[in-house]
Symmetry: C2
Subunit: 333 residues, 2 copies
């Protein structure tokens, strides 16, 4: 198993991608190709201990900047680290690629170079989010801003195949994000998608409201990418805000300061559990290859986690399973 990692992607590149790659090699025994500026990568590899035969470097002379548009980056930066990791997957030189760089460019280039799976109209991004009892998945969190009901059904099938692959065949409870539990609640898109989902062989449990997504009632939540992205970002922003408010509240009270010291390790564990930048890998499902988008602020742990996700998807042949289930669905319709 060989994973191509964009060493130049993310706010803490190349340090964190390189460190994450080293951790993944020791933990999972995977082979890694680090793609990016060779000198900078070597600088971060030196003085680190790792099995040298497991990490190789491919030089890329360009880096996609965060303010570039996908169309311009694709046209002008043919030698960018993002493009090169995807090219490695296309040329079967890597089983999957991982980048914490420009997510729009990563998505668009993956779609362009790897193509879509049969019966998929729109690829979608799936991500894990923390819940009361662990985590749940949400699809789509940003690939498609305007969706048709049929797209949401495809997202559900893609997420279902992914979940089963990751959790040894366990069937996920799938819910549709809406503003009320009843099938009559929602907007035009979700009301129509509800009807379609009811007719599938998926374990569709109905609508779920925003306040219940963290309750673990559903394992997989389906929504369009505009709402999914907003929900993801709102959750991230609120979790951070709550930590700041709590710290401020504690700092304003003498006994609070002492109490804060006493609960510091609990707070740290808690922060880790709710830290969105540690959730790492968000795979782009529905394309013909494994491409994992990471949070821009990815730490080495996040990169390592993303590499694990990439390994699972490739090993479990998630793409084949998505293609199979969508082909069955199309035949039954």
């Amino acid at each position: 198993m060989k994973i191509a990692v964009d060493a130049m992607g993310g706010d803490f590149a190349p340090e964190m991608p390189v460190a994450g790659a080293i951790e993944a090699v020791s933990e999972y025994g995977v082979d890694i190709i680090l793609v990016g500026n060779r000198d900078q990568i070597l600088e971060h590899l030196k003085n680190r201990r790792y099995p040298e035969n497991k990490i190789s470097i491919i030089h890329a002379s360009e880096v996609v900047l965060m303010d570039e548009t996908p169309s311009i980056a694709i046209r002008k930066k043919k030698d960018s680290s993002i493009r090169k990791v995807i090219d490695l997957v296309r040329n079967k030189e890597a089983d999957a690629c991982v980048s914490a760089g420009h997510s729009g460019v990563m998505m668009a280039t993956s779609l362009l170079l790897l193509g879509k799976l049969p019966n998929v109209d729109r690829p979608a991004i799936i991500t894990a989010m923390p819940s009361l009892t662990g985590f749940f998945y949400m699809i789509d969190v940003g690939a498609n801003v305007d969706c048709k009901p049929k797209n949401l059904v495809q997202f559900a099938y893609m997420g279902d195949a992914y979940f089963k692959a990751i959790f040894s065949g366990q069937v996920p409870k799938i819910a549709l994000l809406s503003i009320g539990e009843e099938d009559t609640k929602g907007n035009e898109l979700t009301k129509e998608a509800f009807k379609l989902l009811k007719k599938t062989d998926l374990n569709f449990i109905g609508n779920i409201e925003g306040k219940d997504i963290f309750s673990s009632a559903a394992d997989l939540i389906v929504c369009d990418g505009f709402i999914g992205n907003i929900v993801l970002k709102v959750s991230e922003g609120l979790a951070e805000t709550i930590m700041k408010l709590l710290r401020r509240e504690l700092a304003s009270k003498q006994v609070g300061k002492l109490g804060y010291l006493m609960i510091k390790s609990a707070l740290k564990d808690f922060k880790r559990k709710t830290d969105y930048s540690e959730y790492g890998g968000a795979p782009l499902l529905g394309i013909n290859g494994t491409s994992i988008v990471c949070h821009g602020r990815s730490t080495s742990i996040a990169i390592k986690n993303a590499i694990k996700v990439a390994i699972d998807i490739a090993q479990q042949r998630v793409h084949e399973k998505i293609a199979e289930s969508l082909s069955k669905y199309e035949k039954l319709r």
Copy 2:
């Protein structure tokens, strides 16, 4: 100033609405009409001290249940407490009405009995949400699930007039909820609304991403009611989940338990600041009269806060100001 309060609305009715009314009378000197089952209201009023001439009761023989649809409730429950508080506003016997009951029925009945303001296509619900430095407003949070760009512009004008009325003419920074700051980011609805908002005389600062809404960058955030409702509920659910996770994390550590006792009051203050059920009043703007929807789990403080919102709207003649600014906008277009 006279406010009609639905004594039967909400999970803790009639206790909390009655208690909230008593608190509002002492704090704001307002007159209150409690509407609902007379015996039950009297039961909760007895043994309480309050100026008796300031609180009157109007009996309503019916209560709208939470699982009823607006169309059926409107058709069949002509003597419900919700309908009666709105009727009091229509007949100029009250300046505003407040209910923590079925929000869909409250909205639909308000629209039916009070009608829309001129130049308003769709009334919308505005609510305050906690932020790092206090709070911000969001409109619409649930009245309209499918919107046109023009509706969002009207929401912005309505929120603007409301904000100025509440904060002595202070001009709010208005942002459009989207998935990126650039004007090219968003779905069809927001991209078109962005263009329209740019042309208004509002203090429109552009798009805001989900992660930044709590940062106090914008005072008023505009979105369609489907997304607004989901964002509101997700925030509520996440804030609760984080408190639960934190408590569990602390309970699992011995020193954490002691620390928890020491920071208890800070946690309590913090919970109050982020408790959505205490934010109370969410006015339905764009209708010809003042109707305030409260959280189903409203405490007496939430009801009292909602009554304050009702007083402010009525005193500041928010409806007239909305009608004025929308009429100016229509002329300029």
